[in-house]
């Protein structure tokens, strides 16, 4: 499903941070085009 897709990551400082999600998505064949880590506090 993710293969060959472009992925934008909206991580959360108190949940799963952007760079952690990016490491995961890079194993799926998708291209990460944007990563951020929001802070909802």
């Amino acid at each position: 499903m993710l293969e060959n897709k472009k992925v934008a990551i909206l991580g959360d400082r108190d949940g799963v941070p952007g760079p952690a999600i990016e490491e995961c998505i890079e194993t799926t064949g998708a291209e990460v085009v944007f990563t951020t880590t929001e802070c909802f506090v």
Binding site: A8, I9, L10, V16, A20, C24, A30, F34, E38, F40
Partner: protein, 109 residues
């Protein structure tokens, strides 16, 4: 979802095509995750940001959802996410994200 990121998502959808862009969330709470999913599918519900009234209909998932988790290398997922998976309210987060995706996403496979 902060206004700067709304603009980023809007620009990326225009650049790469709405059918080609997938949003992955890492939110700690169900409500915030649902709100982010609503924003990138049906527009900003607070009408404050660049996505107010903009229905992108993007595919949007939380990193904890099985559809995404199953595509990730298990060892990497374990290293990067499994610790948070133990402390977050996974079922609520998934339910809330899925609710908005099913209502408003036009590009979910």
């Amino acid at each position: 979802m902060d206004l700067e990121n709304q603009q980023r998502v809007k620009d990326l959808a225009e650049k790469h095509g709405k059918d080609n862009l997938v949003i992955i969330l890492g939110g700690a709470e169900a409500e915030a995750s649902g709100l982010a999913c609503e924003t990138v599918t049906n527009g900003d519900p607070t009408f404050a940001g660049p996505l107010a009234g903009v229905q992108l209909g993007l595919a949007c998932y939380h990193i904890l959802e099985p559809e995404i988790k199953d595509e990730i290398d298990a060892e990497v997922y374990d290293e990067q996410v499994s610790m948070m998976e133990m402390v977050l309210d996974v079922d609520d987060i998934i339910d809330e994200t899925k609710k908005y995706r099913e209502m408003y996403s036009e590009y979910t496979e």
